[in-house]
Amino acid sequence: MDVWFVVSNTILLACIYGTLAIGVSITWSSLGLLNLAYGFIFAFAGYGAWLFAQHVSAWGPAVLASGVLAGALGGLFVCALAFIPIHDKPNFTIRGLIATLAINLIGTQSLLWWFGPRSKSLPEIFGTWKLSLPGMTLTADKAGNVITSVVMLLLVLRWMRSSRGGLEIRAMMMNPHAASIVGIGVRRTSFYVMAITGALAGLAAVLLSQTYYISPFGGLTPMIKAVSIALCGGLGSVQGAIIAAIVLGLNEALTTVAIGGRYVLITQFLMIILILLVRPRGIAGILDRAREA
């Protein structure tokens, strides 16, 4: 077995999955909203980047930025439609879930209606260079993917750790009632959160489009993977999501090499079910040491 191949694939997959899963995780824990319109935001960002590349400029970083912006816009849209009207109503969690599903249905069908079923491809953002090191080759898209997503993730995490907005989000994640008492507005903060998670989805959409194509329903599989990784990491925990992304990325790389790409989803789900059976609240259940209540 080619060890280097497995390692590099693991890192690549872990980066992209991590980007997606952290978005889902943050949304859930700070807003209590399980955003299943993520697939739509993903596709929306992809189409945004595609339109930009078609009509304005095909320069790599600009396309990437436009995808991220479009993702943030999609996030704001979902927030205004599915979070703001019902966040203080009874039974919010289930209703929020269904509302985002409805937005997903409307959004993807609108995209299908507008752009047609043919999938689109983006220009090569990171160029086509190759780096040959002893024992392996590093392609531009792989290196670019890893570097961009790691940089973006670090930026977001750093922002969450040290800025005022990040502190507001983290405070709201822990105790929304107390947050309003110290002057943190739920509605305003929810817009931040959704814009940031949407931007993460947009980034992942552009990065993944280097390998796959952009299609109205192309966001579904990434969304399901993101959701299951967030689930496995323990909804609401950033570290848990990162660890889960690495574990599942490793699993995917190993499965592809050992038994074939067909079985990736099966082994992945067996693994998630196994983890959840042992730890019903995911990997974060092990990490969490703070005294509750």
Partner: protein, 258 residues
Amino acid sequence: MNVMQQDLSRETHTLHNHVHRREVLNVCGLSAGYGPMRVIHDLDLIVGSGERIGIVGLNGHGKSTLFYAIAGLTGWQRGSIKLNGIEVGRTRSQGPGRYTHQIVRAGLALIPQGDEIFHGLTVEEHLDSGAFTPRSWRERKERKERILQIFPPLKKLMAVPVGRLSGGERRMVSIGRGLMGEASLFLVDEPSLGLAPKIGKNVIDALMALDLGGSAMVIAEQNVSLLEGRVDRIIGMHVGKLKGEASAALMLHDQGGV
């Protein structure tokens, strides 16, 4: 003990405030409650700047509800609440907590009963979260220093998640958080509740030692002896209405006698 005299003394007192002090809080005809239940009945309260006021009353007589109503957290409310001359009371609140953050930003610091804290944040981050206005955010270092002077035990705990602190330490963090912003009105709800008597007394001492400047502080307590003689006024609260100082003394007797 005459009823008439008691009313008179209240009148003169409010009059006195009108003349000498700037009003921080002016509550007029406030009623509030949850659903069909009415907890506060046509209540008037005026708090001048620099004042420290104690509100005493038994459990369930509306002390916390009064604070929640001022912060816009009750189910419904009616009547006028003016904070620094800005009207913050709404006839129909759009669901509890919808405008709380705006009221807080207008200069209210509510230190709620039972420590509404963020379990995972460290003490330092916790104190930061209280500094929500741009100015206090910029000055947060000096402000934290000030709070550490008031609560020296917190100095060692700055990097510890709040979820792991003891009840007394949590109360200090919760009060410290309330003192971080530039509030003009501090509402402190039962600072000694659930604490050992000595620690509770320390917490009250710290509140008393605080330099209020132009702001005001209202402390709700069940235990009158902790406040007696140390605040400017003690007001009794009984079934959703405020009683004058005279009847506050009576309540002290009641508590001793029962």
